[in-house]
């Protein structure tokens, strides 16, 4: 389409726009077009900034992220409670349970048949040994006599 045809069509389609004279109303600062080629040239020939090697770039991102993640895991980890303790051995479980419950409660909670069987031991003391035991443990024999 020739410019004349284009202008005619534009007048028909958009009379207000077609009536506006085409002009360049923008003010360009003085000497701009003299300076620009030199400024561009200076920028183009400026030595590029030393680029980081790719592995360093990745590490620069990954290391702080990993540090934050580890810190978060450490901080947000729930405190160890008996119920959550990972059983590592029967002794450990028993120790944890015994800490929380008294011996009486444990005995109450278990069947008598499950109690461990202890063998009977007969202790024989000489009169001197018996007297020394009573003396050492400050046992009041009157409690047993009356």
């Amino acid at each position: 389409m020739k410019p004349d045809d284009f202008d005619k069509e534009l007048h028909g389609q958009a009379p207000l726009l077609g009536a506006i004279p085409k002009a360049d109303p923008f003010v360009v600062e003085k000497d701009f077009f003299n300076r620009l080629p030199h400024e561009v040239q200076a920028l183009a020939t400026k030595p590029p900034k030393a680029a980081w090697p790719p592995w360093l770039k990745r590490a620069a991102v990954a290391l702080p992220a990993m540090a934050v993640l580890l810190f978060a895991l450490h901080t947000l980890r729930p405190a160890t409670v008996p119920g959550d303790a990972t059983p590592q051995s029967d002794d450990r479980i028993l120790a944890v349970v015994a800490d929380q419950l008294g011996t009486e409660e444990i005995l109450d909670a278990t069947e008598e048949a499950d109690w461990p069987q202890f063998s009977t031991v007969t202790v024989q003391l000489t009169p001197e040994e018996a007297a020394a035991y009573v003396d050492q443990n400050q046992i009041d024999l009157n409690e047993y006599l009356y």
């Binding site: 109303p25 701009f32 040239q41 020939t45």
Partner: protein
């Protein structure tokens, strides 16, 4: 001195000893038309300068790969088109606002006589152009102000001629409506 042709400038550019001189001449030859396009796209003179510098820096790094089956001017225009659109997108993302808000911010330049010498009607027209979405604004600027052929515009934008015609007609309609609205406001 008679202006060298693009072919001559490219031949000079490919010789190591005249590379910088040739590039300087290429910038001098094409800067005014490219400036005019970019200025109409972004309006603000400082933003225009930034965009234009980026355009020529891209040209500097890409000229070795430039295929001579395309016109140097079309190639530079294409870079200017892409850089202008990218610049407006970056502004929108940077300010976390819409295209309309970016345009509003940029058109404050029109109120300064230091940057804009047009009369009231020119100002209305430029405001209406700035209200177009960036891609449509580019199409309107190329066709209306630069009077480019649709085939050349197609090379610059990578869009079909049909789509460009349609985009231009929609842009003209919008601008006509804006001008009519501005006229009514003025009368009231």
């Amino acid at each position: 001195m008679e202006e060298a042709s693009d072919e001559e400038l490219l031949t000079l550019f490919r010789k190591e000893e005249s590379r910088h001189y040739a590039f300087n001449l290429i910038v001098r030859k094409h800067q005014r038309r490219l400036y005019s396009f970019v200025r109409r796209m972004v309006t603000d003179p400082d933003e225009t300068k930034d965009v234009l510098q980026d355009v020529f820096l891209k040209a500097w790094t890409g000229l070795d790969r430039f295929r001579e089956d395309a016109q140097l001017y079309s190639w530079l225009y294409r870079i200017a088109h892409n850089e202008s659109i990218s610049h407006l997108k970056r502004m929108r993302r940077g300010l976390f606002v819409s295209d309309a808000k970016v345009s509003e911010r940029l058109t404050t330049t029109l109120d300064s006589s230091e940057h804009f010498s047009g009369d009231a009607i020119q100002k209305k027209l430029q405001r209406a152009v700035m209200n177009l979405p960036p891609k449509q604004r580019a199409v309107f600027t190329m066709k209306y102000f630069d009077e480019m052929k649709y085939e050349d515009m197609s090379q610059v934008t990578g869009t079909t001629v049909g789509a460009l015609k349609s985009s231009f007609h929609i842009a003209v309609k919008k601008i006509e409506d804006e001008l009519a609205k501005a006229d009514q406001t003025f009368v009231q």
